[in-house]
Each structure stands twice: as C-alpha cells, then as structure tokens.
C-alpha cells in the first residue's frame, strides 16, 4: 500500500536526481567540451555580435544542452545562446 501512495505522491526520488545529473554531465562529456572552450566560444560570439548590436553582457547566457534531432535520431547536443540586445547599431544598415 505504501508503494501505491508513494507512486501517487510522485515524490522526486534519489534515482530521478541521479538520472537528471547524469544526463547533464554526459552532454558535456560527449561533446568533449571544457568550460574554457565554452568561454572561448562565448567570447568570440560576443565580439562578432558587438560589431552590430549593443548587448547586455551581464545577463548573457550561453550553454551546451541537448535537443531532439530533426532527423528524429534521438538527442543531439545543441548550443543555446540567450543574448539580450540593448540597441541595434546603425552600421551595415
């Protein structure tokens, strides 16, 4: 009966935590990417964008996550960048 209640309660068990943590760490492992590497990518992206826009560097967020591949072949790594724009520069318009 206890089992039934815990299932209904849907409490987050320690194995759920384990699974979640593992999935996250494996994304980085599989992509073979170090935090330094990600910082480098981040720096370069900022540099390029700053040529055209004024961005909010403080709240900028770049991370490696995963997404379902378009071919439906399961989960693939994806680089997600959230870059708040303050102002678009007038160059190149």
């Amino acid at each position: 009966m206890l089992e039934l209640f815990s299932r209904l309660g849907r409490r987050r068990t320690s194995k759920d935590v384990a699974k979640e943590r593992l999935k996250l760490v494996l994304i980085h492992d599989r992509a073979n990417v170090s935090p330094q590497f990600l910082e480098m990518v981040k720096g370069e992206i900022i540099k390029v964008i700053q040529n055209y826009m004024e961005i909010d560097e403080e709240s900028l967020d770049i991370q490696l996550t995963k997404t379902v591949s378009e071919e439906g072949e399961g989960v693939v790594p994806a680089l997600i960048a959230n870059i708040p724009i303050k102002n678009v520069k007038s160059v190149g318009k």
Binding site: E3, S6, T13, K15, D16, K19, L22, V25, R30
Partner: protein
C-alpha cells in the same frame, strides 16, 4: 576461427574480473574452448578469482616478449574442460605490452579457441588501449551508480571510435529492493542514458563474494541468482535468446500474496 571479447568498464571495482571468470567458465561448461586473458598487468587478479593462483609459471608479458611459447603460459583449468587462463605479469607495468603485440596474440589464439575473453584494466590509458586492441566485440560493465554509468558512457565512445561496433551492456549489482523504492536507477533508466544493447543484468548477490573467496566462479554451481544470471548471459553471448530473470526473486510468500491480490511487482 574464434572470437575475441573484451570485458571493460572504465571505472574500477564494478565487476570486470568476476564477469570474465564467470562468462569464461560458463562458455566452457557449454563445451566451448575458451581462453581468459588477464590484461591488467601489474594488478593481476583473474588468477585469484579463478582459483588458479598457485599454478602460474609464465605470464602474458613472457609470451609477447618471446620468453616462452603460448602453450607454456596457458594454465589449464582442470575443473572445466576446455578452459584456459593466460595470467597477467605482476611485476611489470602496462607499457610492457603494445597494442600490436595484443593483436598478434589474439590472432594466434583465435586458431585454437572458440572464445578469447580479455579482462581489461580500469581506466582508459595504455592498459585499456592494449586490452581492446585485438577485440572483435566488447561487453561494457556498469553498476547503477552515477560514476560507473558516466565512465561506461566514456568507454562506449572510445570503443566505437576504435571500430568496436555495438558494445553490449552488462548491468551489475542491481538491488531490486532499492530500484522499487526509487533509490536506484533501473535497468530501463540506464539503457535510456547509455543507449546500447543490453546483454544482461546481474543482481547484487553475496554469493559472488563467497564464490570469489573460494576461487570458484558462481556460474558453475548455478544455484545463486547471480550464478543463474551469468548462465543466461553466457547463452546470450552465444546468440541464444533468453529472457531476463526476475531479480526480485518472487518466489517468497509475500510476493506470492502480492501477486494473488494483483499487486504489480517490479
């Protein structure tokens, strides 16, 4: 022509040597000619788990260096017809063997044996590279712990990069009671994460410690749950389709009652 199967894991202490001993013995019991190679040079242990530690004369390094013939170094297991062990050197290090030498050794042994099972050292350094060099197939061992699963994932990546396609997963030391409570990742959880084919599941069973104490692989007596699991894995290795055993051991009174009242047991 024999087949070379490497038993590997990345993380240490998850049951590579125990698995090598049990699968090798299991195959020999099914009338196959089998040689077990202990590739863990410097940390020799397969001989001890097999109960053959007192019979070593020559070792793997002696063979590859040409100090003796393969035949001289092979220890015949008198209990199981067709089972042989090539022990690791204890006083040398992993660099005493090269991947090329391992390939040559495996190729030579293939003429004579149906299965060559290589017990890989922990880690992903030179010793690991040597151990996988001659392998046709691989079994990756993990336990339901985050560290072991992470290391298994890394090893699977390296195996695939080394053209050892389709490694198979063996999940060791599963505790059904903990899985039921949600305090241990289930077989499905681990397969979902690692995304490779499962060859079998071995429960956490104190009989493994007892049989290792005695130097008698659990697969031989076949009474323990772990021993039965290894028997099944042996058959799957030979291509037979065998369903997973019910690890919860649902023969007890309580589980029978539960079944009677329609409780679903994991």
């Amino acid at each position: 022509m024999g087949e070379v199967i490497v038993i590997t894991s990345g993380k240490g202490g998850v049951g590579k040597t125990t698995t090598t001993a049990n699968l090798g013995t299991g195959l020999a019991l099914l009338d196959k000619k089998v040689v077990l190679i202990d590739a863990d040079i410097g940390l020799r242990n397969l001989d001890l788990v097999m109960g053959l530690e007192n019979r070593i004369v020559y070792d793997l390094v002696n063979v590859v260096e040409g100090a003796c013939r393969i035949k001289q170094a092979l220890i015949k297991d008198k209990r199981f017809e067709g089972l042989y062990l090539l022990p690791a050197a204890q006083t040398r290090d992993k660099n005493a063997v090269s991947p090329e030498q391992m390939v040559k050794l495996c190729d030579d042994l293939k003429d004579e044996f149906d299965y060559i099972i290589v017990d890989c050292p922990a880690g992903i350094e030179q010793g690991f590279k040597n151990a996988i060099a001659g392998a046709d197939r691989a079994i990756v061992i993990t336990t339901p712990e985050v560290s072991a699963v992470r290391d298994a994932d890394r090893v699977i990546g390296i195996l695939e990069a080394n053209e050892i396609k389709k490694p198979m997963l063996l999940i060791n030391r599963v505790r059904p009671d903990m899985v039921k409570k949600g305090d241990m990742m289930s077989i499905e959880d681990i397969i979902d994460i690692l995304a490779i084919d499962l060859i079998g599941v071995v429960p956490d069973d104190e009989n493994i410690i007892i049989s290792t104490n005695r130097g008698e692989p659990a697969v031989a007596e076949g009474k323990s749950l772990a021993g039965q699991a290894y028997q099944n894995i042996t058959k799957r290795l030979m291509g037979e389709e065998v369903p997973l055993i019910d690890l919860a051991g649902n023969d007890g009174f309580l589980s029978k009652m539960k079944k009677l009242f329609g409780f679903k047991s994991a």
